[in-house]
Symmetry: C5
Subunit: 154 residues, 5 copies
């Protein structure tokens, strides 16, 4: 049975890890390993440890960057680290970041954090069990959390 | 027979992977391995896995960064990761990114995504089979998707 | 007995290392290794050496980036290095940076540097001894130094 | 006999590789290995392959970043990659980039591309054969392509 | 006897390497290895080679980034490379950069380049021989070249 790692943060204002686990368990039988770290810059090494020390086959890295300019920089650094962690392990880490200023109010922000997490949980399942499904969706303008953009009209 | 890897995304609004494969198969006999991932930040590890786990001799990484500022940052992170993946494998990964705001409308954007993908597919073939052709084109202002700039007039 | 590394700087205008050690020793019995370097860009290698040469199980990297634009760039470079050091060692390095312009005056800045350092010292203790406590705090909007943002109201 | 690697691009609008080779051959007897790649982001792996697979003792990475903002970002990514390639090989790669907007017209741009390439070719020769000459030029405000700035007047 | 590496540039307009060596030799008996490279982007690999091929125990990387926006980017890339070089060698490289626009005129700039270099030479000596002195200076707002900021007044 494959193992999915879940890494989230105490900084985020919505329990993204719980949403991810709920969505995964609704859909497939897998082993799940979960860790929570303080902030998004702690996610890269947490994800790498889930892969190398806990045997995870894929990881979801869940976070909510703040709305200030310096938070955007943190998100950039975390993303660079998550890409590097993937290259060092040859393992996918699906980054699910919802910026605090993406929602027009707290309710929409929570909705977006829940929905984007769940839609990416489904991507994780496809990467793990049905990668050919993703090939069939190539170039179709999929979005997570918002409406899909769809393929270009020509 | 050499193997060309193709990695594209479900985020893109045009099937760049199909265009690449079509162009390659029109021109040469090679083995092709294709994967599709959710977004451009998933491309670096996908390309590295194609090289190290699927034996690809070269990879095309195809994506369409969105038009917002944060999408530009994603493209930057993906590009850094693709360069790092190349350095870790001593293997070329040809990045073909078309920004969503490069076309004046959906039709032009689709045209550009198709044409840039196909022109870079030809570069991949040259790198693999006829690198001396590229030396003959050195400094001639080649562009992919748009008109060539041409050499400087002196 | 686990070992916690503390790396701080002579550039900072508050003795963050002393505050961290004080908070840790109030709460747990651990071995502590402390180094001080000139500036925040010297922290990544200092932290890595604490892990690899001094046997630290986790490190706190404490610094006060200056208020100018070029100081922000230094902070960015230091953060990237700290993330890389973590990935190279599979060990957490908790970055505690307080920007010189975060406080409205010197008194508030000192207060913030002391408080954020101490609150992150408690995170370090949780990561080391009680990681399940962090999971219980997932998505609760924890902040260090300022008031917690709290979970989203829906 | 040492080997100098030359990597340039088809994107550039002046044959920088030819200028480099001409200048080197006027001055020293060395073996030269040349490759041409599509764009500047392909230079890091090309340079690393010249070092590790073709036995080059030093490499010149020659390119002309475009004038748009996104081209500046490509140049940044290429530069980061070239520095990383050097660190991975303990070998100098001399980057010679001339931005398309550095010349006031095409003629000046071509002049600059030729001259900067040739002046850096001389630096490569010094690094390889006479590093003590560079020590004698330390702090003298050398520039490649433009007039030297010279040492500060006190 | 420990070995200190000195890497500086021909681009700089003041002989920073000579100032560093003079200050070091006034204070301690060490072996010194000096190299000069064209620009600051050549410093990371030069410093790494000093450590790995010349046996240096610590390195000073001395440079003067130019005043234009693109020079700032070069400084950023060089700094990232210097941090990476440190992480790859577990050895400190003290970066001493003086931006060309930091002085109000050439005289002040030269003064600043000399003074910052010398003050960091003293940091290098402390790191090598008396690291406990740096711990005693933790949080005291040390600056190199300008007046110290001093500890915060509470």
């Amino acid at each position: 049975m494959p193992t999915i790692g879940i890494a989230d943060t105490t900084f985020a204002r919505y329990n993204m890890g719980r949403a991810a686990i709920d969505e995964i368990q609704k859909n497939v039988s897998v082993q799940i390993k979960r860790v929570t770290v303080p902030g998004i810059k702690d996610l890269p090494v947490a994800a790498k440890k889930l892969i190398e020390e806990e045997g995870c086959d894929i990881v979801m890295a869940l976070g909510m960057p703040g709305a200030q300019q310096k938070d955007k920089m943190c998100a950039h650094e975390a993303s660079q680290g998550l890409i590097m962690a993937q290259l060092m392990t040859n393992t996918h880490i699906i980054e699910v970041f919802v910026h605090e200023d993406e929602g027009k109010d707290e309710k929409e922000l929570a909705f977006l954090m829940d929905r984007r997490t769940r839609e990416h949980a489904l991507n994780v399942i496809k990467l793990l069990f049905k990668p050919e499904k993703l090939v069939r969706e190539a170039g179709t303008g999929q979005r997570q959390g918002f409406e899909d953009a769809g393929p270009l009209r020509m």
